[in-house]
Subunit: 408 residues, 2 copies
């Protein structure tokens, strides 16, 4: 069973959280949203190590405050998640409702309430429709299962303005043996994760102790979900949870196999993070903004995010307009010192700016390049050796349409 | 001539920079833009004290670098400004072109080149069409004049995506005597002034020494132009210049009359700043975002700007959607500590959030309120005693249309 080298064995785009052994999921229509799946339960056969990262927004949903405490304990058994209502800014009633959701789900599943994680997503500031939840939660255990259909329903049940489910499952060989990782994510707007993400739930059948799992997750999220942005707005409900139930019998306890596990977790998270951007509200394309030659990696991230969140850059991306002036202007206001005379900008492989001035370039060719659904912008600051990439999407008419009347 | 009290004597919405005595202006079509006025000269009869504030963007246009030096000398005679080309990111050639603009204009007017200020606005990264400027600049002195028509042409000649000219002139009584202040501004996109503004040119016939003038201007800009935002993008060409030529014979040298002068300057700048927001690209309304009960004034500004620049808040404003969840979520990510349970949000006079939760409110009434062209949002943080207001506009379909293909 022990593989010498690491490496990917299988990657399943149609599979998600039950691809790792010992996990089941089920979803129902509780009626919180008009007619779609809006409530899901994810359960491990046995108590699992749990790690989580949460929004840094000062305004935090009841589920964030609650689940943080469970994660601090290091172990969990299951997760209940609803879409259609964020249960944020709902005061004490919101906290009580969240606790009741946890208790009802734990009772239905036959586990302790303090083993139940809770996540919510949807409109901020509306009371949870508890009557509907009281009817629907007891039905969830009967829906539990594993396989392609269960995975798909779980991924769909957590969507809000998403146009499609986002999931990935992989099997990798580590020095300690083969393990599986699966994940689902949701998110389309209010996306600018800060030490967290929009909702993302990950499972693995590796056996890893909670502190090591938390370190692995935090490091991976920092370079994946924390490097995407749709609109610069950080949600009140961001949460990423990773459950490790040990069902593979493979123990990850450090060294090479931990490294291999982290690499694999990074691949899964990066895929899901980019899926979120690709499905950004109204998005027609994904742009990878790479900043090179920065004094520090954090400085590179800062400049890349400033460019990635510039409405002028994002509208130009929509129009396939090679307007590099907006790119360098955004870089210049990011707060990171550099000399424009040492800086350079490439759109794809086309140099458009260097030595403090625009370069002659084939406008039609760059315009055509920008028509693709995946484009790359590279900004070299000439101020160091560090680099970072941030993924963003464009602003289209549909971004305005989707957001102009979300609550009315 | 000396008035005991201060106060406004006259406010002229149709007048601008030549309402103060001893100033003339003239504008021509140089052909930089397709068919509109795009080059203007503003001249004082005598050498004037000059003060200026400039963009903090690291990437600065040639005109910014150049005019900063003139302002450091404290005195200037005239200003030449073109629209249609920013002469930014144009390297050494751009610096030479800017110097040539100054020299040609100085020669045509018969003054020294080091008395000539230069400002440019328009597309970044294109070489200045110097042949056109060499033909047009010598014509400018023949167009010089004062009065309603001259003012109007000057205000129009500096426009880019603006849909209308922005100007105001006033006469005030100070303890030292009556003085006049006039101003014009341009700007519609790439508006998030940082210690500066988009282009704004102010004149006064008061006599004030340069250091005092600079202090007055810096203090006023901080609370007017630096508190507006259209899209969070700080321009490479931002510049505000104030010329004081003393033609009124009234000396402002401190005390009560300086205070009165500063108040008047504040009114003019605030009017022009709000005009810029009102004419924001695609804007259908202006929103005043007031943050109260903040620990410091700067903290109030930070929270107000974060709300004012949130694409989700701005699209909700367009849709007249009372989506207060986005307002409190933006406040929560601004980096200023507060407890959501102590915070409150009002849309106009309607309380929509307090004590950590949404309040019952008349959705139709708030929706109607948000249909107005001037709306107010008040956020009380419950974390101090300081407050600040930031002015912003909404994001409409037209914002996308205008910006999707600006350079192509």
């Amino acid at each position: 069973m022990v593989d010498e080298g690491g490496g990917l064995i299988v990657a399943e785009l149609q599979r998600g959280v039950t691809f790792p052994r010992g996990f089941e999921t089920g979803a129902v229509r509780a009626g919180i949203k008009s007619k779609n799946l809006d409530l899901m339960l994810l359960a491990s056969d046995v108590p699992a190590s749990v790690a989580g990262v949460f929004t840094q927004n000062l305004v935090q949903a009841a589920s964030v405050v609650y689940s943080k405490k469970i994660v601090q304990g290091g172990m969990a058994r299951a997760l209940i998640c609803n879409s259609g209502n964020a249960n944020a800014c709902t005061g004490e009633q919101g906290e009580q409702d969240n606790q009741e959701m946890a208790s009802l789900a734990a009772k239905a599943l036959g586990v302790n309430a303090n083993e139940m994680l809770v996540a919510s997503t949807g409109v901020i500031g509306r009371p949870m429709p508890m009557e509907k939840l009281r009817s629907a939660i007891p039905l969830l255990p009967f829906e539990l299962g594993s396989g392609i259909e269960s995975d798909d329903e779980a991924a769909k049940a957590i969507m809000t303005t998403d146009t499609r489910p986002k999931q990935l499952a992989i099997e990798i060989a580590t020095q300690a043996g083969r393990v599986r990782i699966g994940g689902i994510a949701k998110g389309s707007g209010m996306i600018a994760p800060n030490m967290a993400t929009t909702l993302c739930f990950l499972t693995t059948d590796a056996s890893i102790q909670p502190l090591m799992l938390q370190e692995a997750l935090s490091a991976v999220i920092e370079k994946t979900f924390n490097r995407i942005t749709v609109d610069g707005d950080t949600s009140t409900n961001d949460m990423c949870l990773l459950l490790a139930n040990g069902a593979s019998g493979v123990q990850i306890s450090g060294g090479k196999s931990l490294e291999q596990f982290c690499e694999a977790l990074h691949s899964v998270c990066l895929h899901l993070a980019k899926e979120v951007v690709r499905d950004g509200e109204g998005a027609t394309k994904v742009a990878a903004i790479t900043v090179q030659e920065a004094p520090t990696e954090q400085a590179a991230v800062t400049v890349a995010k400033t460019i990635a969140e510039s409405p002028l850059v994002k509208t130009a991306l929509f129009g396939c307009d090679p307007n590099w002036g907006r790119i360098i202007a955004a870089a210049g206001r990011a707060g990171v010192p550099f000399d424009a005379n040492d800086a350079a900008v490439l759109i794809g492989s086309h140099p458009v700016f260097s030595n403090g001035r625009g370069r002659e370039f084939d406008k039609a060719a760059v315009h055509d390049y920008l028509h693709q659904t995946e484009v790359e912008i590279i900004v070299s600051l000439g101020a160091g050796t560090q680099s970072a990439t941030v993924w963003t999407c464009d602003y289209s008419y549909d971004y305005i349409r989707i957001n102009a009347s979300y609550t009315t």
